[in-house]
């Protein structure tokens, strides 16, 4: 649905993005994750035909953003970071205006307006003047505006910025719901949000793609860095254990437990208690055997917890050289 190849953009002498390449397939919800000033908005502005790239090419829904700009714009719903609202207008008259410039046939306009008001939770605010709405409601009007023509591709720049926790949850739910029918590219710098909504995350740093992370149900399943190094996660499960025991005996004993693949020492505590990471087969449980082992040897268990690799760790690993 979205194909980006070697996209580069300079503002004067300042490089905003360089050789950005990625693809988004139909029906995917992809997060664009990166620190401030990493080039997220620039990339999105190029995709939405707001400005042209210095070099490289990009296509959306099969149309080139530069040569077939009008066709691209017809297939995109865009919510810019600074929500583009005419504050003197009422919610409905604003949406009516957008539906006109989005070329929705006259007969469908009212039903589309009602539909987006409903899905964005704005029905009771429909006759308010936009300038008098709270930040959260304005954000929703911005989202409604992007949805009104039922676009194939939705591009959302920081859709949840400035919202309160309840509103954030609501907008996330809405985006998840929309993801069932639309292809969505959204930018964010909030990590939990990205892992909650997105099926894939593209990490951008300093104007170039640092890597991508695939998730399922909020859990990371694989990480690919831009150097092509691919790490598949989820082939094994991991436990972190700290026990009061002689380090070598402990490791050796643990390694003999069935289904254990690997035991890695994570260092020792101040009292020379061993701390280890234990990898074991998926869909098995070694906790019972492990605790029995410790008790039967007269050792003591101080800590045991499952280890899940977090997006934070991946993000930091990808964005720091």
């Amino acid at each position: 649905m979205i194909e980006v190849e070697n996209l580069t953009k300079y503002y004067g002498n300042i490089r905003a993005i360089e050789n950005v390449t990625f693809r988004v397939e139909k029906g995917e919800v992809v997060g664009f994750l990166g620190p401030n000033g990493s080039g997220k908005t620039t990339t999105m502005r190029i995709l939405t035909c707001f400005m042209p790239a210095s070099s490289g090419r990009a296509t959306v829904a099969g149309y080139d953003v530069f040569t077939q700009s009008l066709d691209v714009r017809r297939h995109i719903g865009y919510m810019p970071e600074s929500v583009p609202l005419y504050t003197e207008m009422k919610v409905t008259s604003y949406l009516k205006y957008v539906s006109k410039i989005r070329k929705i046939p006259r007969t469908q306009r009212n039903s589309r307006i009602d539909a987006v008001l409903e899905s964005c939770g704005l029905t009771h605010m429909r006759n308010r003047i936009i300038g008098q709405l709270s930040k959260g409601y304005r954000q929703r009007v911005g989202l409604a505006q992007a949805l009104i023509h039922n676009p194939d591709v939705l591009i959302l720049d920081e859709p949840t910025i400035g919202l309160d926790p309840k509103q954030i949850v609501e907008i996330r739910e809405l985006i998840k719901e929309l993801g069932k029918e639309h292809t969505i590219l959204l930018s964010t710098h909030i990590l939990p949000e990205a892992s909650m909504i997105c099926g894939r995350i593209i990490v951008i740093n300093n104007g170039s793609i640092a890597g991508s992370v695939t998730l399922s149900d909020g859990r990371i399943t694989s990480v690919q860095s831009s150097e092509g190094e691919m790490t598949t996660l989820g082939e094994s499960e991991e436990l972190y254990v700290e026990a009061k025991a002689p380090a070598e005996d402990f490791s050796a004993a643990v390694a003999k437990i069935p289904n254990v693949i690997d035991v890695q020492t994570a260092g020792e505590s101040a009292d020379n208690h061993p701390r280890v990471y234990i990898d074991y087969e998926l869909n098995t449980d070694i906790r019972e055997e492990l605790s029995n082992l410790i008790i039967n040897n007269g050792w003591e268990l101080l800590e045991m917890r499952p280890v899940e690799i977090t997006l934070e760790e991946v993000f930091l690993r990808l964005t720091t050289e």
Partner: protein, 241 residues
């Protein structure tokens, strides 16, 4: 065409919601009324011709347009740029030309509305005298053309800045310059002719005398066309920055 209509309606709506339209129209009509009354008073004392009254009225109206129109055009692009709504406009499937024309027509509708209301004064004159409607109609044609030139230049300036005050002030300055350059036309020779041809007001004087010359109509129309063309280019070029 539908896009132009959508932009046109939205802009006209904004003018009326944001009280600019009311202030501008009321101000224009009230001041015109003042000039009209004083011209009538002077006419009743001296024995000037009736044409004197209309000439004073339309001359003053043309000067007022010079002040008022930058106020109408200043927000057209500058406001969108400042508030970020330009991003909505530029990523919607509409052409830049359609945006520019829609906005121009909205300002134009307001100009026509103002001039239409001011037609009250010539009608009033028919109650007490017998004014010649030839020069009146040609003056109105001249005012429409002159006002359109002001609008097109104002829009062009507005498309170059984010700041409405800057847009208004620069438009006003540029219009004033194109106005007073006619004062230099007293110079003999080619230079004088050129100054007189460039000046916005020199052409208007023919209209107020009842002369609708093709040369002058062409001048105004080409002025408008060039300004609107440059506006489209300026909107396009903003994307490249």
């Amino acid at each position: 065409m539908k896009n132009i209509a959508a932009i046109f309606i939205k802009e006209l709506h904004s003018y009326f919601v944001s009280v600019i339209a009311y202030i501008v129209i009321i101000g224009f009509i009230a001041l015109s009324g003042l000039f009209f009354t004083s011209a009538l008073a002077r006419y009743s004392f001296s024995q000037d011709s009736v044409e004197f009254v209309t000439a004073v009225l339309f001359g003053n109206m043309s000067v007022m347009l010079l002040f008022i129109i930058p106020l109408l055009t200043m927000r057209l692009f500058a406001e969108e740029k400042k508030s970020g709504t330009i991003e909505l406009l530029m990523t919607a499937p509409i052409r830049d030309t359609e945006v520019v024309i829609g906005k121009f027509l909205a300002g134009w509708a307001l100009l026509l509305g103002m001039l239409l209301l001011s037609f009250l004064f010539p009608i009033l004159m028919t109650q007490y005298g017998n004014p010649d409607f030839g020069p009146i109609f040609s003056s109105y044609l001249g005012l429409i053309l002159l006002g359109s030139c002001f609008l097109s230049l104002g829009i062009m300036i507005s498309s170059m800045t984010k700041n409405q005050i800057v847009a208004a002030f620069v438009s006003f300055g540029a219009l004033l310059f194109l106005w007073v350059i006619g004062f230099l036309s007293n110079r003999a020779g080619v230079l004088g002719d050129i100054f007189s041809y460039i000046s916005l007001i020199e052409h208007f004087e023919y209209f107020s005398r009842g002369i609708v010359g093709l040369k002058h109509v062409v001048y105004y129309l080409s002025f408008i066309a060039v300004c609107l063309f440059l506006t489209v280019k300026s909107v396009e070029s903003a994307k490249w920055k």
